[in-house]
Symmetry: C2
Subunit: 359 residues, 2 copies
Amino acid sequence: MPSTPQSQNGHVSLLSASCPTPLAEYAEIVLAHGSGGRMSQRLIREAILPGFSNESLAALHDGAIIGCGNGRLAFTTDSYVVSPLFFPGGDIGELAVNGTVNDLAMCGARPLCLSVGFILEEGLPMADFRRVIASMRRAADAVGVSLVTGDTKVVDRGKADRLFVNVSGLGIMPDGVEIDPRRAQPGDAVLLSGAIGAHGIAILSVREGLEFECPIVSDTAPLNGMVAALLASGCHPRILRDPTRGGVASALTEIAESAGVGMLLDETAIPVDEAVRGACEILGLDPLHVANEGKMIAIVPAAEAPRALEALRGHPLGRQAAIIGEVTSGHSGFVMMRTHVGGTRVVDMLSGEQLPRIC
Amino acid sequence: MPSTPQSQNGHVSLLSASCPTPLAEYAEIVLAHGSGGRMSQRLIREAILPGFSNESLAALHDGAIIGCGNGRLAFTTDSYVVSPLFFPGGDIGELAVNGTVNDLAMCGARPLCLSVGFILEEGLPMADFRRVIASMRRAADAVGVSLVTGDTKVVDRGKADRLFVNVSGLGIMPDGVEIDPRRAQPGDAVLLSGAIGAHGIAILSVREGLEFECPIVSDTAPLNGMVAALLASGCHPRILRDPTRGGVASALTEIAESAGVGMLLDETAIPVDEAVRGACEILGLDPLHVANEGKMIAIVPAAEAPRALEALRGHPLGRQAAIIGEVTSGHSGFVMMRTHVGGTRVVDMLSGEQLPRIC
């Protein structure tokens, strides 16, 4: 776990935010390149974007927006490599459908259809494969989205880990919705739809054989309904983001860097369930770096914050929604947090690898 | 390699076509489930389709066609697991871009944009990753298609094989184009755009350390330009198909089964380069079962066959195009072939696994 610089007397050194080794010094891919944090960001910015440069990718959004006739479509892709395949609260199939639905929802799009690309390892029990398929079907039915095209590859034993799946998705962008990680403006309110860290801790607990008094289950869920409720409330969110790999800290830092703004969070306002908080303390993890699979960050104009909060809380997945901070003009590119003891610290992107193969 | 029943005195037993073990008798995934032949078909029909049933998937087309405003879009996905990553005539990056472009082209669509989802194994040399990205970029530029959204996951050493990549694609369907594997009609002409088997033999040669007098290189190429030329000629193809895994034999058998028609091929008309033919003889392979990555089957109304042939031959990738047979009303669901010695045999789908991880 990366150390997070603590403030002293309210002063923080912005230089103390982690600056990992430049990508050029890595001769090989390491696990942290998939962390969703700083190293992932460097890999994407320094190795992938220069190869593929275009306007859509440069936005580093959850999906691309494409003009289509008079309308607009959102297009997104995600591969899922979570281990184990079945975990408390869900499995790779449900996670994959919800994850891609959520990427579409974070663009502001209404999910239209999904593709499914399996990579199966020789020796995968057929019963496990059928169970994953049934789970994907249930998750798709729950959202009302169709799985319209697919592909299946098999690799020899020992060359994959049972089952990987890619789900790509298409969604329809409602007129007037403009979500873009670069649109945050000073004064905007930062909302979080619920308590953080459940997915990461659920995976970790089963992988490490940990037992808690209250079992912690993944929060995997489709967020499209809550986004629809937010839009229907008449709110005009500037940014929506589901804080998966790298957690809330990485998602907000990435937004602050993209938009060239600062953020100031209030630690006491950030919902964390007691069981997750306890597990994080035992494990030495910061809940802000732990992955979520059914939570949403919404950045909205200040004047719309009460309405947005009401819309989120009115949805079953948003009962614990809270305004957790605001966008600031100072500390551009950095997320600051007033801690519960009254100090201020930098909330940085996850810098190493906390928990590989979380999704 | 599966044995293909030979005719005696022109008689063939249709019962002799291979009927492998029902899927229900497999407790585990085996390599042949990814062959692109009969076992892949059974896995898809018996395990995947019942889970995901809908009209688009049931067509077993290379992609799904989706209404969008006044127009139609094609949507497709493919994961690439070819081994080795770099092979004579191409690499996984070029193969992936061309492969997904070709799936769109086989729907009759004009490629619009692609997504890229990497699964990287810890320890992958960074130089290899950069080389793959550069190759994808070149291939995309050659087609004029953008890579608009992406995802990167990293798995621990030994849990993948260096690099897998999923490329999903969106294309625009021109008005009036109706390609569907069920549309073949008796009398239609079956065209093939060029000599078969190069990709499979190129992969096999490097994997097995075989050396031929003339090196055989993969035929990986984007087919969208040739499809555009075919459509521009005023031809109305009923079916387009790129015979990849499972080869020409599997592709045509699948079409015959879907459309409920027979086919009669002329072995002497099927273009096979001498080097590939020689390699197949040495290796005991039927070129009709060997994978291609830059060839196209077109089934067109008989009256349009001369025009279609001219259009294909007028394109740089179609110089060796030929009319290789016709659709028949007899032998429904079976592909028959007049051999060069004058007999007739059943051309069946690949029934086991010939060459894993070809694409």
